[in-house]
Symmetry: C2
């Protein structure tokens, strides 16, 4: 089944201990789409400027991603410059230029209306809510956010949270959103605010899913115990940019590829999220995720299982 993702398609200039890259293809929707494209059909809604060439668009279309929802307008694409020289766990933002994203109003092509899955990548919660409202029939809705929206746009974000089946954020964001330094208590508060489930990403330590006690797509009380998926210990993280979006893409892509949404599918999706995140960071930008051999995904999934399972 098809996933619709709305988010940024952008240029990133990146500085990491492994090197520097100027104006890589980046953006949350880009990383998400590429990761999800190995599992299911993906449709993108975003806006780009005149600097977004057909060659760049072909990175997406070569993976079968439907880019009819990428709006081309006059001006320059969203641009971000970040450094990981201080820490691979947190980027230092050196420059952000919203450019064409500043006046973006998402439009949903008629061909996208039947998308069963919807992912609201990290953008202004007003836009997230707008897209959510235009897709009332989506079977499962996921979303991401970041410190900036949590701190300065709390009211708008609160409306988005109420419409989510799965919120995917990292440790720091979860604790900030809940104003609670204990992860379990933070998760309970966030679930009270709306999302039916919460996936908290721990970087090199994997991710933990928490479930609300409301009815959720066949997930019964039994799995209200959190579920923890591992990450692969890596000897070199070349570029952490997009790891979280790649996790979300693998997670949602796998769910959308399955005939039913069950607790087992949710758990496996957590593993596939980690798998896609682990590939993403092995090279700069989209280099690795744009050219994966699907066989590698299965092999790495087996590795994740072996890494974490007793038998």
């Amino acid at each position: 089944m098809s996933i619709l993702v709305v988010g940024s398609v952008a240029f990133d200039t990146l500085e990491t201990p492994s090197g520097r890259r100027e104006r890589c293809l980046g953006g949350a929707a880009t990383h998400f789409s590429l990761a999800a494209s190995y599992f299911t059909d993906v449709r993108v809604i975003a806006v780009v400027g005149e600097d977004f060439t057909p060659e760049l668009e072909s990175v997406l279309t070569n993976r079968g991603i439907d880019t009819r929802g990428i709006e081309h307008v006059a001006g320059k694409s969203f641009f971000w410059e970040g450094s990981y020289l201080n820490s691979l766990n947190e980027a230092t933002t050196l420059n952000t230029e919203l450019n064409v994203f500043q006046s973006f109003t998402p439009k949903i092509p008629a061909e996208y209306q039947d998308s069963d899955y919807l992912f609201l990548a990290n953008i202004d919660p007003v836009l997230q809510a707008d897209v959510r409202g235009k897709m009332p029939k989506a079977k499962l809705v996921g979303g991401d956010t970041m410190n900036y929206w949590i701190n300065d746009h709390a009211e708008n974000l609160a409306k988005v949270l109420k419409g989510l089946d799965v919120l995917l954020i990292n440790d720091g964001e979860a604790k900030l959103l809940a104003k609670d330094a204990n992860l379990v208590n933070a998760a309970a508060k966030i679930l009270d605010a709306g999302p039916k489930s919460l996936v908290v990403k721990h970087g090199e330590f994997g991710a933990t899913a928490f479930f609300s006690d409301r009815s959720f797509a066949g997930i019964t009380k039994k799995v209200f115990l959190p579920f923890r998926a591992p990450a692969l210990p890596l000897s070199e993280v070349v570029d952490p940019t997009g790891a979280g979006d790649s996790f979300a893409g693998g997670f949602f892509g796998y769910i959308a590829s399955q005939p039913e949404f069950t607790p087992e599918v949710f758990k496996k999706a957590m593993f596939y999220g980690g798998v896609m995140g682990s590939f993403a960071v092995e090279r700069f930008g989209t280099e690795r995720l744009a050219q994966l051999d699907p066989k590698e995904i299965g092999e790495r999934f087996a590795l994740f299982r072996e890494l974490s399972h007793l038998d």
Copy 2:
């Protein structure tokens, strides 16, 4: 089979967000012994002062722990005062009084000589090496250390590392010991320095085991992939003191309780380590580990499995 542990038996004054306790029974050998006592016979070597009452010793003997190796001398027992008000992940030391530990020379009772397993808890590496030398027939030797010995007693510690089958330390200690901020590379360097395996504890994120490529008690190349065990997400950590020693006690206790040392046993031991650590932090000092119902251990092991396994 029997485990011999050498380490501190002490008094701790503790301050955590959950409250304050004066002069609890503490010490690495205490936490280790209590945790291991649910799995196998445990023998302790330590030194205490006149303040160590028969009532306190009975906390250990009630669990069947052999305390004949606890030397009673004139003076006061080792004392530590720490606060976790700033962070539950790292104690701020407010006071340390070595007292009777200052002039401690471990003596191994004749009845302890046949111990199959040896654990060198976090004490001066000179003492660790001394005990290791006196137990040449031990089948499996584990050890712990801390920043102080890594920084200021590196040469002595290097000798201990060469004699270890398993080194159990936390993330920060591993990175400090290897002078490498990447966990995988740090693990490789540490394994090069001697230990046949390394268990790195990540606190709330569990623990990862790394294996050297030398022959190690039936562990084949196949499991040279690291192994990652989860921790239980807890809504309240009352007192983190002794969590690492309790992990080590559960880990070693389980191994010693098994007829053979296999990769499967090593992996399960990682889970039992996490299980015992999760109990330890639920109350102050030894309150929880001194009075566990063995049934609870089995139930929590099942929880750890459910938390982390796909099926």
